[in-house]
């Protein structure tokens, strides 16, 4: 009987684990392997000779360091921006409004996610463009026009907009879970509101921010569509270099080598986020 149940449980686990092993780990393994191969520039065929050339170019050529720094820098900036933007909103939704209004606000936060990301990025092109909506408003108000379309500033704005809901949701969850009795106790003991925020609420909200930052940071890090559409002359992300090496030059090995870097950065970030409780108690 026990044996049969054991076999049954095992059978349940086979499909997901099989899927993970074959499709997920399998493709990661091939990625790892191909990073050590090379491509013949004339015929475009992959040469299966082991070489560290891809990594040598990656680390010796300043171009790729600049691209990596830009990618990580903007991902950090977007994460910080979203934390700042999400706080007041999450606080109000979590603790200040009744259930009906709360539901409405939650739906509003999630609403943009129901439309295509591509359409929303293109909408920003229409907003920021030289003859776009923003400049029209500025002009009507008698202010000088802006020129941030196709710059890294536009990139930062659009990324912050795109991933804001992913920061708001976990932060709400974290703030909701703080027992009201803790805040009352702090107040009774004579803590000022800012002390309550700093010493009670903020530490208890850290896991929520850490969980949200995994989305904002990791997803920004791996994106290439947004830089392509709203970025300018100097906006290439690691993803764009990977994309052009695969889709344009046909150099899969070099693309694999560069994307391994992203994998390392994200893995490192996950470890840090775990220490801050991003994966606890969800």
């Amino acid at each position: 009987m026990g044996l049969r149940r054991y076999a049954g449980n095992l059978a349940l686990l086979v499909p997901p684990f099989g899927w993970l092993t074959v499709f997920y780990l399998g493709s990661l393994f091939i990625l790892l392997l191909s990073a050590f191969w090379q491509v013949d520039s004339m015929t475009g065929e992959i040469v299966h000779d082991w070489t560290l050339d891809n990594f040598r170019v990656l680390f010796s050529d300043v171009t790729y360091r600049i691209v990596a720094q830009r990618t990580i820098g903007i991902a950090v900036l977007v994460t910080l921006t979203d934390i700042v933007l999400a706080w007041p909103l999450a606080w109000v939704i979590a603790r200040k409004v009744g259930p009906r209004l709360k539901l409405l606000l939650l739906v509003l936060v999630a609403l943009p996610l129901w439309s295509s990301m591509l359409a929303r990025i293109y909408a920003w092109r229409l907003i920021l463009g030289h003859d776009g909506v923003l400049n029209w408003f500025l002009h009507e108000a008698g202010l000088p026009g802006q020129s941030i379309a196709f710059t890294n500033v536009a990139l930062w704005l659009v990324f912050s907009y795109l991933w804001l809901p992913f920061m708001v949701m976990p932060l709400i969850a974290a703030l909701e879970r703080i027992p009201a009795s803790l805040l009352d106790a702090a107040g009774d003991m004579g803590a000022t509101p800012s002390q309550v925020l700093r010493t009670v609420i903020l530490p208890l909200a850290v896991p929520g921010m850490a969980a949200g930052s995994i989305f904002t940071f990791a997803v920004t890090l791996g994106d290439y569509v947004t830089p392509m559409l709203v970025g300018g002359a100097g906006s290439d992300f690691v993803g764009n270099v990977v994309y052009s090496n695969v889709g344009v030059s046909g150099n899969v090995p070099f693309a694999a080598a560069f994307s391994l870097l992203l994998l390392v950065v994200v893995a490192g970030y996950m470890l840090v986020a775990r220490r801050f409780g991003a994966f606890d108690g969800t």
Partner: protein
């Protein structure tokens, strides 16, 4: 006896080589297979000529558009080259496809319009290797300088305008390593001491000069465009006012009411000469041949030339162009094509061999790395 031996050898050889070719080449075009997968430049498979083709042959056309030769090569090689039947490759992609065994020889006796092609395009080096045809020449034209006449009221005469700080933040150029050749062409006039003769055959020193110029240009560029439609958007929204373009963008923008002009500046221009090529793994070879014959008819040649703003390879297209749009044959140089043809530096794949016996030129891999450095 000697003469007889020579005769015997000659016939023997021709029989052998014919046999070798006949093994690869189809002898006749059979019935269409019902589908045709096309990889083409934007604007190269327009409904105006695709629909009549589908109706008359029953071959349903499935299109994939690309914005650069590199993208074209990558797309045709994807999945072992089984995903497409025909591709409209420019000279710089064509040789890579031939050497990569991605395309198959074409039997020209099945292409009636071949007899009417310009002599320069019957067996050009970029689609014919050792006498074997791997593609049929289609259309060709220059990369032009395009500007918004509201902002540049005086027509610029030189490519210098896209390297000029006056226009900082208003410039757009293609996101394409072959764009280095445009810089090299400009430098061959602006800095003759560099000794650049062919913009596709650059030594390290010449490449360094081109990269330095392009890095200066980088801070002036609003955006590097990857697809023709990107550049059209940039000019429409007023984010770019001057740039390197194809006549296609200029035609499209003028049709949309944007005041743009385009020209070939005094330094001359780089350009493209495209060929239709058939995949080595084509699943619909009959439809492929039918397609090539369709697009080489004077009528389609003229339609393509007018919609894209280029010159047909078929010399019979001139009258058809004038019939569709008066004066267009002369406008697109289809009447005096030979001199005009010689003035354009056609895209070709940069290789180590400089063409002067020396092997110190940079190959395309080096061009791609240099372009990434320019863009960083």
């Amino acid at each position: 006896m000697k003469a007889f031996t020579a005769f015997l050898l000659a016939t023997g050889c021709s029989v052998v080589s014919l046999a070798a070719q006949a093994a690869d080449l189809p002898g006749a075009i059979g019935k269409g297979e019902g589908d045709l997968n096309v990889v083409a430049w934007e604007g190269y498979a327009d409904d105006v000529w695709v629909k009549p083709f589908e109706q008359s042959t029953g071959c349903k056309v499935h299109r994939k558009y690309v914005g650069s030769s590199d993208e074209m090569v990558a797309l045709t090689r994807m999945g072992g080259g089984k995903g497409f039947d025909v591709v409209s490759a420019s000279g710089d992609a064509a040789l890579r496809l031939i050497f990569g065994h991605n395309v198959q020889p074409v039997n020209m006796s099945l292409i009636p319009a071949y007899a009417d092609l310009m002599p320069e395009l019957k067996e050009p080096g970029f689609n014919t290797v050792k006498g074997v045809h791997y593609g049929v020449s289609y259309e060709w034209g220059p990369n032009v300088l395009m500007w918004n006449t509201k902002f540049l009221t005086q027509a610029p005469k030189s490519w210098a305008v896209i390297y000029d700080k006056t226009y900082a933040g208003m410039i757009t150029v293609p996101d394409n390593p072959i764009q280095i050749a445009d810089a090299a062409l400009y430098l061959s006039h602006a800095k003759p001491e560099l000794g650049i003769i062919d913009p596709y055959e650059l030594t390290q020193a010449q490449m360094d000069a081109a990269v330095a110029l392009l890095k200066e240009q980088h801070s002036l560029v609003r955006k590097y465009w990857a697809l023709a439609s990107d550049e059209i958007d940039l000019f429409k929204s007023g984010d770019a006012h001057v740039g390197a373009a194809w006549p296609y963008q200029a035609n499209t923008l003028r049709a949309a009411g944007v005041p743009v002009q385009d020209s070939v500046p005094d330094e001359g221009a780089t350009g493209w000469a495209d060929s239709w090529m058939i995949s080595a793994h084509a699943e619909h070879p009959n439809c492929a041949y039918l397609w090539i014959n369709h697009v080489l008819t004077p009528k389609v040649q003229a339609q393509q030339a007018l919609s894209f703003g280029e010159t047909p390879a078929n010399t019979k297209a001139c009258a058809e162009m004038d019939a569709q749009q008066a004066g267009s044959c002369k406008q697109y140089h289809a009447d005096a094509s030979s001199d005009y043809f010689a003035s354009i530096h056609f895209w070709k794949t940069p290789v180590k061999d400089c063409g002067n016996g020396k092997k110190e030129c940079l190959d395309y891999g080096a061009w791609q790395r240099a372009w990434q450095q320019v863009k960083q």
